[in-house]
Amino acid sequence: MKPAAFDYHRPETVEEAVALLAKYAPEDGRILAGGQSLVPTMAFRLARPGHLVDINGIDALDQIKLDGDALCIGACARHADFHKPVCAGPLGELLARVVRDIAHYPIRMRGTFCGSAAHADPASEWCLVAATLDATMVAVSTSGERLIPAAEFFETIMTTALAEDELLREVRIPTLAHDTHFGFEEFNRRAGDFAIAMALVTFRLEDGLMVDPHIGIGGAEDKPRRIAEAETSLAGKPPADAAFRTAAEVAAAAIDPMEDHTTSAGYRRGLVATLTRRALERASL
C-alpha cells in the first residue's frame, strides 16, 4: 500500500501555491494539507495525484480569528486547535464539542478544518458544521478570490464546487448569538469511526419558543445539509418532546439516505430520527 509516484512542491506563499495549482491541476495536482484523508486514499492508490502542493509551510494559513461577526478558519488550522474553544460564546463551545468526535487525537494533530471541507466526505463533521451554520467558503486561484456559500459548496460525495485549480483558503462561520442552544449527536460503530449518521442543531429561545432553528444532517446523505422542513416544524414551538419528535420524524422522512452492503437506507433513516431528537434534547438542556 505504497502510494504512486508524484512530484512534490512546497510553496511558501498562497500566491505560489495557487500558481502551482494552476500549472499542475490538469495533471491531477492536489493540495496537501493535513493529509489525514488524502494520504490513505493514496495508500490504496484510489488517488494518484501527479503533483502534491504542500501548503503546510505557508505561515499565513494557520490562523483562526474573529473578523467582525465571523470566525475565520485558515486552510492550515488543525482539528486539535479546536479542542479548547477558539472564541468566546456558543460557537467556540460547539466546535469544541464536535471536534471530540472527529477521528482520534493523533489525526487531529495534523488534519485540517479546511482540508476536511474540501475533501467533502459525507461523514465529515466539519462539513456538517459548515452546512448547518451557513458558512462561507473562500476559494482562491490565480484568477482571484471566490466566496461560495456552504449550501452550494457541497455537491455530492467527495465533490465540491471548487475548481481543480482552486485552494480553499478559509472558511468563515457566522458567530452564534450568545444565547444560542446547540446539540450534536453522532452514531458510529466504534470510538473515532466515521459517522454513519449525525445531527447538529441550533436554536434560540424567544419568549420560551424556539426561533431560528438550524437542523443539519450529515453522514446519511451524499452531502451534509440543513433540512428546511424539519426546521420549519420546529420554529415557534416550545422546546419539548413533542416538537422534537415531530422534527426528528420530518428530518428522517426528508432525507435520501445512502445505502451500502453494511448499512441499509432504512437503518440510516431510523438513525437520523433518533439522532435529531437526541441532539434537540441535548440542546435544550
Partner: protein
C-alpha cells in the same frame, strides 16, 4: 528516473541527511533510511496507530506523512524514550503492568501516551482513555495498557 529529494531529519537528537522519493512515507524513511525499526507498520492507512511517532512535539501517524514533509523536523521515536540505560517511566510501567504481549503495537502506544501526557499533564482520566482509544492492540485487550499509562501518568506528574 526516480526524483529524490535531499532532506534532513533529526531523530532522537541525531541528524540524518537522507535522499528519498517524495512518496516515501515518514514511517518508511524512519525505518529504512534512518535505520530505526522500532516504529511499526500495522495498516498503512492511518487507523491502527502502530506507526505513531512524535513530530515537533505532537503525536502523529507516520504512515500518513511523507518523509519530505518532515524535513527539518525534530522526531522522537521509541528508540529515544529511554535515557541511556534508564527506562522512561512509560516503558517501566508497561513492563510492570504487563501491558504488552507481542509488542508490535507497543511503540505506537508508548509514543502516543508519552506525548499526550507531556502536552497535557493534567488531562482527565476520561480524556486520556479517549486518546488511548486511538490505537489498536490485538493481544492485550487494553486493560493493562490503561493501568500502565495511568501509573506512568502519576509518576510523570510527580517527576
Amino acid at each position: 528516473m526516480i526524483k529524490k529529494m535531499d532532506i534532513n531529519l533529526t531523530v532522537n537528537g541525531r541528524s540524518h541527511a537522507v535522499s528519498v522519493a517524495p512518496r516515501k512515507t515518514l514511517a518508511d524513511v524512519i525505518r529504512e533510511d534512518c535505520g530505526q525499526t522500532g516504529t511499526h507498520l500495522g495498516c498503512e492507512h492511518g487507523i491502527c496507530g502502530a506507526c505513531t511517532v512524535i513530530v515537533d512535539g505532537a503525536p502523529v501517524r507516520s504512515c500518513l506523512m511523507f518523509g519530505v514533509q518532515a524535513d527539518g523536523a525534530e522526531i522522537r521515536t521509541v528508540e529515544g524514550l529511554a535515557n541511556g540505560n534508564e527506562l522512561h517511566p512509560m516503558q517501566r510501567a508497561f513492563t510492570e503492568h504487563h501491558a504488552l504481549q507481542c509488542g508490535y503495537c507497543t511503540p505506537g502506544f508508548l509514543m502516543l501516551a508519552t506525548s499526550v501526557l507531556e502536552r497535557e499533564p493534567d488531562i482527565s482520566d476520561d480524556d486520556l482513555l479517549d486518546v488511548l482509544s486511538s490505537n489498536l492492540c490485538r493481544c492485550t485487550g487494553y486493560v493493562n495498557i490503561i493501568k500502565a499509562v495511568r501509573a506512568a501518568a502519576a509518576e510523570m506528574k510527580e517527576g
